[in-house]
Amino acid sequence: MLLITCPFCGPRNESEFVYGGPVKPPRPDPATRDDAEWTEWLTHVPNPVGPVEEQWWHARGCGTWLTIWRDTRSHDIVGAPHDGG
């Protein structure tokens, strides 16, 4: 069970949240990409071994959308890699 820190409510239990999927790279302009690159962006779901940035929705709380970094090896919430986490 995760303890997720909501920017409005503070630390709350995972059961109050809904998983919103990993954060994807910015949407590319399909007119400037070939089919393979466009298909890759549409269908590829980041699933690294290690830290992954995810979106969560505080659906049973204040309604805020937030992002966290979670380590897929330990299920721990970690700091963003550029923060030294």
């Binding site: 630390p11 109050e16 709380g61 204040c62």
Partner: protein, 165 residues
């Protein structure tokens, strides 16, 4: 094991959902609202109503049902400026009052909130999950009040009764 609590369904409350910047809402509503709470998940009262700060730019105004028409007239939801939203939601939530020495035990069965007074103080109010569904929990004298979507009223009655033993 039975718990020393009293669980009482409350009558319908006058409720208004307020969204938008506090400054605009304050200007629009004038002195008809209690002071806007500054800390998230707290409420403030002025004797006539309670205003709860439940999300970013999101408040719920609560009062006795007898005051509903007066607040509707004061808040003028239909004429509100586009930056804010005021919606009467009195019919949407069903309230329970759970009081007694072991009220906290029932709430700790129902929801994952940290109910210690240091985290959930005398003026606390927050949305959370109760028995798996979205619920509004408010601390009150001697215990807590719990509000859920009205369609969950029979389910919540059963769950609270079972939890109380």
């Amino acid at each position: 094991m039975s718990h020393d609590v009293t669980i009482t369904p409350l009558e319908t409350q006058a409720l208004f959902d307020l969204r938008g910047p506090a400054t605009v809402l304050r200007d629009w509503a004038g002195d008809s609202l209690p002071a806007f709470p500054q800390r998230p998940n707290t409420g403030s009262s002025n004797g006539r109503a309670t205003l709860m700060f439940l999300g970013p730019d999101h408040w719920i105004l609560r009062a006795d049902l007898a005051r509903e028409d007066a607040f509707e007239a004061a808040l003028r939801p239909v004429a509100a400026p586009p930056e804010i939203s005021i919606v009467r939601i009195s019919d949407t939530l069903a309230f329970f009052r759970i009081i007694g020495p072991e009220a906290g035990e029932i709430l700790s069965i129902a929801c994952p909130l940290d109910l210690h007074p240091r985290c959930f103080g005398h003026d606390a109010a927050s949305f959370t999950a109760a028995f798996g569904i979205k619920a509004l929990v408010i601390r009150c004298e001697g215990g807590f009040e719990l509000a859920v979507d009205r369609s969950y009223l029979p389910m919540m009655t059963e769950c609270l009764t079972a939890a109380a033993g």
